[in-house]
Amino acid sequence: MGVDLALEGPAGASGLLAGDAAGDQRGNLPGDLQAAKKRSSLPWRQPLAIVGMVVVLAWIVVAIFAPLIAPSDPLAQDFVQLKAPSAEHWLGTDELGRDVLSRIIYGARVSLPLAVLLVLGAMIFGTILGSLAGFFGGWVDAVGMRLADIVFAFPGIILAMAVAAALGPELLNAVLAVIVVSWPAYARLVRGLVLSARGSQYVIASRLLGASPLRALVVDIRPNVLGPILVMASLDVGNAVLLLSGLSFLGLGAQPPTAEWGAMVAAGAQNFDKWWIGLFPGLAILTVVLAFNFIGDSLRDALDPRTAKALRD
């Protein structure tokens, strides 16, 4: 499992284990570490993973440097309304005379951090609940998993809508709503992983040496859970962007005049003949979701022993 940690390399942390081990080994790597080293370069060889990473990186750069890149203020209603794409406004202007390109660029500042934030939120909550359920079993397990079942019983977007509507239409509430619907998947996954790791000899052995349950969970079991959880989270970021935009599209997320992609698509839907208003923010959502899915998929392939072997040969 620790070997697998090195596979997070492409996400920018290749030093995690490789550094430790290499430092100690002085080039005398044993077989499995060598294999891991070989495998860790794999996602780079997968074209889709590269595309995904380039796209995500590009969006991150756009979000960070939005004020420098955007041709105009995203909220300024300075221009002729509903103007088709032209040399002056590359992606046209919307119904209030705002530059669509600038709004999309600023929209990245809303969608990306919030998506990451809510995935982190769902991941942390789901992981804590799932690991407690898996480790302690009994009623903790029963209560936690029934809670997860209740959430699973509803279609995600419907439940998110209900929660967002109940909390009031606001961007942060929408984030909360998406966390509410996405944590159970993490809890389930973590519970299963913890359950299988808990019975392993080395966990029992450390308990037999006087380790507390918390220590067993944090030190011995965590490495077994980390890899799969990160894969799932990377797949989930795309999903989160989609859900968040969906809520904004329905008017339950970002409120005007905030430049948010989902809300912009909604505006486009009201001016259906002015295709540029809805199409370009839609494309922005599409590229981000696809890119995160590519990354997640290739991470999963690389981490899964079965597919990883096929890729290595």
Partner: protein, 333 residues
């Protein structure tokens, strides 16, 4: 044997499954004195490991215990988990049976050897490290200093088992529970580990409960032997008596199934059938379906564990010494 380190009295462990609750350990009594090596023998599923885990208070969910386990005057069965954590590793350590998996694959040997030392003994990091190097040298790991910074995966099975033993011994426990300490090891390594245990007993007064199905290991090490079958005790006694003159048909069966250098080409006689699974332990004497000298009453009356000689207890009403076919002429099988 005047100072009893561990006293187990009428210990029973019931496991609850979806099909009801079953006794995995049934009325087991045992004493271990300081510096004594006691062997628990029996086939898989006879309750040996469960007995050991019970002593340390690590049982599966829903397991219930009855009886008493006293370690140095402290009752373990009713102790809190917090109190037990102070005993585990520090006073009583356990070596589990699978060397390949009882060490954490991604923590360094140093971490696994020193963490509980620092916790239980409160020693400094550098002192723990010095001790760890000594320990590795004790279990004959070549180049111990370098071994500290490596991962378990880089050692062979035998070396990992010896490291696991070093981990168990790190806090100088007074009692070591060795669960099949030498299975999966080749004979030379096995001999080395047995010698190590012997030496630690002599040097430190370490008491050892050695759990094995291998009576050969037992004969090399144990002062007393306890034979278990179906969660119950079949026979307990001094090693020499048990091995030279087994009184329980099951003990005899185990010995007959063992190759002996003196016996030459004599055929090995396996015990017919297989041990009962949990929840399907036969009534009366659990061994009666496989017993060569079973009598009708064996299937109904539960045999009591009765003394037949000083320190020798037997749970079998049919004393094989009085049964004519028991002389080893082959009539028993």
């Amino acid at each position: 044997m005047s100072t009893q380190l561990l006293t187990v009295e009428h210990l029973s462990v019931a496991l609850s499954t979806s099909r009801g609750s079953f006794k995995a350990v049934d009325d087991v009594s045992l004493t271990v004195g300081t510096g004594e090596i006691v062997g628990i023998a029996g086939e898989s599923g006879s309750g040996k490991t469960m007995t050991a885990l019970t002593l340390l208070g690590l049982l599966p969910h829903g397991a219930r215990t009855a009886g008493s386990v006293r370690f140095d005057g402290t009752e373990l069965l009713t102790s809190t988990q917090r109190a037990l954590r102070k005993i585990r590793g520090r006073q009583i350590a356990m070596v589990s049976q699978d060397p390949a998996t009882s060490l954490h694959p991604i923590l360094t040997v140093e971490r696994q050897l020193t963490e509980h030392m620092r916790h239980h003994l409160g020693v400094s990091k550098s002192e723990a490290r010095t001790r760890a190097i000594d320990l590795l040298a004790t279990v004959r790991i070549p180049d111990p200093e370098q071994a500290l910074s490596t991962y378990p995966g880089q050692f062979s099975g035998g070396m990992r088992q010896r490291i696991a033993i070093a981990v168990a011994l790190a806090c100088e426990p007074r009692l070591l529970l060795a669960d099949e300490p030498t299975t999966a090891l080749d004979v030379t390594v096995q001999a080395g580990i047995l010698r190590l245990l012997q030496r630690l007993r002599e040097e430190r007064g370490l008491a050892v409960v050695i759990i094995t199905h291998d009576l050969g290991v037992m004969s090399a090490l144990a002062d007393r032997v306890c034979v278990m079958y179906g969660g119950r005790m079949a026979e307990v006694g001094p090693r020499s008596e048990i091995l030279a003159q087994p009184r329980h048909p099951y003990t005899r069966g185990l010995l007959d199934a063992l190759p002996h250098p003196e016996a030459g080409a004599a055929e090995l006689r396996p015990i017919a059938g297989s041990p009962p699974s949990l929840g399907k332990v036969p009534s009366g004497c659990p061994f009666h379906p496989r017993c060569p000298s079973a009598q009708p009453r064996c299937s109904t009356d539960r045999p009591e564990l009765l003394p037949i000689a000083p320190g020798h207890l037997l749970a079998c009403p049919v004393d094989p010494l009085k049964v004519p076919s028991a002389a080893g002429s082959g009539g028993g099988a």
